[in-house]
Every structure is written in C-alpha cells, then in structure tokens.
Symmetry: D2
Subunit: 137 residues, 4 copies
C-alpha cells in the first residue's frame, strides 16, 4: 500500500464557536496529507509540474465521524487508490493516538496540460512509470 | 422546491497560483448559501439554536465541473432535500449568468442537543413543524 | 474624501471558540473593503493590472477596539490616504449601525511592474491621473 | 531573551495568483509561532485559560520585506517583549535558511477574565510569576 502518515497541527484558529474544528478546515488537513504523501513518494505539485502537468481536484468528499478539538494530537493517513483512468485518487483518514478513525475522505484529481490547461485523457507516461515503480502495474 | 439563490463574491484571496479558486474555498461558499437559505426559510444557526439544537455537518461532497476565477459573477443555489431521518440535507449548485452549472455539492447535518451535545435520533418537533410549513410532510 | 462604505457579512466560520471573530479574519474584511473601494473608484486589481502593475501589500496594521460576533450587521469604510511616494495607502474602519468604531486598520501597497515584478519607485502616470481625477493633486 | 524558533510549512493554498503567500496568511503563521512559543514557555492558550484568563489580540502589525513562495523552507522566531502594562507583546520574524529577515510583525494581547470577559487592568499574579521565572522582573 502506498501510504503516508503525518502528524497534524490543530490550530486555535481552526476551531469554531462549538469548540470543534470547523468542517471546511479539513480540506486544508487533507492538503497537508497530500503534500506529505507527494514529498514521500515523488508526486508533489512541483514533481508533477516539472513533468508538464497540473492536477486540480475535481471531487472532494469528507465524512465526519467524530469531531476534532483544539490541542488534539492526531495523524493524517493518505493512501493512493489505483484506477485505470487518468486520475489521481487519494483516500484520507484522520486517526488519534489509539488509531480510532475520526474523519475519512477522498480527493480525485485530473491531469491538465500545464500550459494549455487542456484535460489529458490518457495516463501520462511519467505517471505510468510512477505506478510501475510502486508495483501498481 | 425549498430553494434559495444568492450571489457570490469571488475574493482575490480565494484564488490560487493557477488563477482559479482553490478547491477548499467552496466550503465557505456553501456556507454562504446555507446561511442565505437559513435566513430566507427560518432555519438559520440562531433559529435552530433557539430551539435547543446545533447541527454540525457530518458529510460534505463537492464536484468541480468547471473552475471559478477571480472576478466571476456567479450564484449559489441551495436546495433542501427531504429525508425521513433526523438530518438536514442540502444540495448546492454554483451557476454563472447563463445558468451553466460550474460546481455541485451536498452537505448532511445531524441534530445535537445544544447543551449535552448528544446526538438526537428522532426528528425534533420544531423541524417537523418546519417541514409541514413548507409542504414537505 | 475618497471613501467607500460597504456592508460586511460575518460568517459562522469567522468566529472562534470565544464567540468572536478570530483576529486574522479582518485581513479578509479589509480585502472586501479594498475591492469595493477599487470597484467604486476605478482602482481594482484588474484596473491596475491592465495598466501594467501589481500592488502587493507591504504593511498591515489592525487595532481591535471591540470584538465582532457572528450575526453582527456592520460596515467597512475604506478611505484613501494620499502620500507623495509611489504607494497606495488605505485606512479601514469597521463600524456598527450606531457608527461606533469597532476596528481600525491600514494597508500600504507598493507598485511592481506586472511582468518583471521589479519595484517601481516613481508614481506611475496612470496613478497620477487617478489622483488628479479625484482632486488629490 | 525569551524566544522560540519553529519551522514553517508554506501550503499550496497559502499562495495567491502572483505565486506568493497572500498577505493575510501571515496571521496564521504568527499564530503558529505564538503557539510554539506558548508550548515551550508555559504560556499556551490552555495554560492561560487554566489560570482564569483569555488573551485576545488587540493589535496586529506586519511588515512584508520579501515575499514567501510555495515550497520555501523558513522559520518563525517569536520573541517576548516585556512591558509594565497588563499585556503580552510578542515580536515575530520570519527568516530563511541564510537568516535573511523576510517578514516582521508584532501582536499585543490583553487579559480578560475568562468568565466575565471583563478587561483586567493589573498584571495577573500568575503572569508576574511567569515573568519572574524568566528573569524578566
């Protein structure tokens, strides 16, 4: 499984008047997970850009099982989900120190040509190589 | 159909280095839609709080069909989706002036007792009344 | 006085666990004021960009005299402060319906050449014209 | 000198269309510095709250000497500035790996009684002790 685990800082400013993290903040946490994943596995924004692509998010979903509070010590686990299409699918889990799952989610990214911003419908060669090097094809 | 339509301000700070709105910002736009809906139909945070409840979001999903840019003039349409469970389901559509659908999404909220923060499993009486008054039951 | 007044939406997500707007959110409100000012007086990001410049902020200050709460109805007043240097100085006041001043602040922007991103040390001709047309020179 | 130094994550979402960190994001970075400072020196939100106080920010200022970009490796240095009044003054510096100063700033916080939210005009005893223990009085 191609998976990164990184710890997560719950800022004071992330918490709403109910004392829990405001639901929209989790897209920032997922970004932190995605960046840590990209840095570990050579799939960062800069890596992909250098290959001639940008990969905007076209789908986001989040399920909130338990709420996070200011000061919580948690981890975000970001896992690659393989598919045949020219997409990057990542699953996210936020877990506490007991490994209880608090939040789950998913993002789907597509490939655009970096310059023309046109959608790329076939899997880019560099990404096929990336899959191979991680035993995914 | 119980539906609100409100116009949307795309701030400079909403836009990322690709010149499009960063995907995580849409949860703020949905919040704007939800607040406008709540204010029009008597289901605002304050209305619900006065009845003894808070309604945190337990599910969010967003599909990005086209990107928004700084300066775009768009509208967010927020529509109530009825269900039998003790939940508030809202669908969101962001449309441009030609009524092209750019973004769609959904939030699901549950009812917690305002003070104990315990989950409420049966539809609160005030919300049954709200449904009746909008011809939903 | 070259001054814009616009109303301000206090979002649920702007408020922290103390029930007041988190201090960092005011830079977004000032942005709303600055955009309304720019739209009214022909000095928007797009106007300036079309003239060949971008104007990043090099100084920000905010004084918090009273706190804002979720649901407050307030206004932001953005006033141009003239100076001889190649800078745009704007003062901000957030006032309530009784005109009580709740928040004050200032931003200072400099001119960069749009393409080279080099600092421009003399007042750009288009901005001199702008000043003249507003009886500032 | 009572000073904390912590490293800083520049997120993709922090960067605007010009490719630099949007000026309003720095209040989040200062918060990161303030929290790291509070955790190191026993002056965190929770420490202060346990003593019966909350300490909202009443003044913020930021000077932007150079811009930060996505991917930059930088540090935030947070330094306590002593004063006789019942205030917490912190100075912030964001520096790169060559110790070049990119950004400077300051926050001023006052003490409110945690429950009544009334302003406290004399230095709280716990804070006098804190100063003594750091050789500041």
């Amino acid at each position: 499984m191609v998976k990164n685990r990184t710890n997560l800082l719950i800022r004071f400013s992330d918490v709403d008047v109910l004392g829990i993290v405001w639901h929209g903040k989790y897209s920032y946490y997922f970004e932190d997970g995605r960046e840590a994943f990209g840095n570990e596995f050579g799939l960062s924004y800069q890596d992909v850009y250098a290959q001639g692509y940008v990969t905007p998010i076209v789908h986001l979903e989040i399920d909130y099982k338990r709420s996070l509070k200011y000061g919580d010590q948690v981890y975000i686990e970001t896992t690659y989900v393989d598919c045949e299409a020219a997409k990057i699918i990542l699953d996210y889990k936020i877990v506490n120190e007991n490994n209880d799952v608090l939040i789950t989610g998913r993002t789907v990214q597509v490939f655009l040509d970096r310059d023309s911003r046109q959608l790329v419908l076939t899997v880019p060669p560099f990404f096929l190589n990336w899959k191979e090097s991680h035993f995914l094809v």
